[in-house]
Subunit: 344 residues, 2 copies
Amino acid sequence: MTLPDPPQAILTEPITDPTAWLAAELPVPEGVVHELTPAHLDEITALTKALRTEPLPLLADREPWRALARRTMPGLSELAHSTAHRTETHIGTAVLRGLPVADLAPDEIRGLYRALGAVMGTAVSQNTRGEYIADVRDYGNGGLDNSAVRGHQTTSALRFHSDDGDLALLLCVRPAADGGTSLIASAMTIYNELLRRAPHLLGLYYNGFVYENRDEEDPPAYRNAVFGYYHGQLTCRYFLRDYVDSSPAVTQVPVSDLERHALDLFEALAARPGAATEYALRAGDLQLVNNNIVVHSRRSFSDGAEGGGRLLLRQWVNLDGGRQFPTTLCRHRYGMRKKPDARD
Amino acid sequence: MTLPDPPQAILTEPITDPTAWLAAELPVPEGVVHELTPAHLDEITALTKALRTEPLPLLADREPWRALARRTMPGLSELAHSTAHRTETHIGTAVLRGLPVADLAPDEIRGLYRALGAVMGTAVSQNTRGEYIADVRDYGNGGLDNSAVRGHQTTSALRFHSDDGDLALLLCVRPAADGGTSLIASAMTIYNELLRRAPHLLGLYYNGFVYENRDEEDPPAYRNAVFGYYHGQLTCRYFLRDYVDSSPAVTQVPVSDLERHALDLFEALAARPGAATEYALRAGDLQLVNNNIVVHSRRSFSDGAEGGGRLLLRQWVNLDGGRQFPTTLCRHRYGMRKKPDARD
């Protein structure tokens, strides 16, 4: 009689490559910053001029956007592509600084942003309307205690979490009047700490937690593994804890004390002094967050009386030749299914 | 900043006391057998005579049953009490052999059985009708693929499992024409093997699995931990796997591959050669199964054309001064809640 084989191996050695880092080891809070040059700005002008003569819908496929970017912005496209793909083996995050958001009209900003995303990888839909670009701002509908609300629609502090694509691209159009700073921590470092401090709980993270599926698609709840190990590579996806807390309304089974502990421990390891880097995004910063490697959070913010309020644009992008990982992670890696009856 | 404390410790050392055993180490397949003596049989005659003059309902409280047993069967009561409580620190099972079931009327058998249970501990209700004694026989309603059916109502092989009380008392009134043998394995030995072979999965067993709540009471599904560690003592409760497999109908969340693996591994460790003892109960055998320490199963059976078919009676009994264990295990330890509208 043979014993059954596990569906996947569990990594029992710590990660020792650059993807496992502490904030104190970063040269700057952003980790990596690439300031745009005057030549890059000239390329952006060429792009916006081309878009005026040959308009391209934001919902068009990737390929025409990528071709347009490569043609009008060869230098910036090269920088964007290499920066994006380097996050996979480096520290999992970087910032492109100095996009001229103050000098561009709203639709020009979105066009530039869609073009840069198309260079980096394949954008995926973030909702049932099939949209590639979501506004991260105060929607005025309150906080995450409301099951109809998603994190990017609030002013609340967001817990550490991952997004669905390999990369989250966050473009700061307007910072908040107060608060809203970004925090990023290496999930690989968190794994190393879990391996050292709570090795017997690792199976819980590989099995994952049940999340309410908010405003998106069937089924009403789903399981997501926090860690998966595939072909010698560890991958993380840690979705917003609030969706676990609200899942019993669907499953009729309470979240257990041990599950709560595992979630608390993960977040405490992300938030402990020295683990996460924290900084304010500036207008014109394009932040790259590799969801396979890091988790991110933000402080709560408040908008001033003037200026329209904090606005980030968000894309989820899968890298070309991106890693494979177990299907237990991230059912929405390839986007939310567009529903026929959803409004565009 | 301090990290959160776990809700309970995880045992990281193997169990080395007599509760962790292999079948080959048992002197006889039953582990411990106490044959009733002629003096015990005379005591049983005294009990049945007393019941004819002072009838006592099976649903009466424990105390009058215990008093009657102690008065009419002092020797057998002492043996039953000591045998039951020794299972806690010994191998978790024993058999009292030679109850005169062939010489007693059906209600006398149930009276004797209720009396012996009352000596050993506090019987708990096994269903929403508040019954202390359940018939384990073919109810003719088919197998466990039907969510309205419970294991004791079928002729199927039952997987390794635990029952709800500290002790399951199984009285064999009539064996099957063919099959139906009992298997018992030490859950403490299974734990030792899991600790050695799959230490990173232990958290899954401490967190437990979600079970459909069949035909019993609210809620429609609940989580049960397989192992719990409390005040230096490990306790197991492994409920019928079939109820996990059918739980997604309630929770709308599939059982994960890793959960299936953890269940498969537990059962494979119970069933592997040399782990479980197997033997046939004889008419008049009273089998004690300590659910804190062992798991049990049975082969499928078929009844012959004559004789009324296999009949075991089952009680669930909590020991006096029984162990404490985490509330994550065994929500029905103190019985199924009687529903006002259920028929007695």
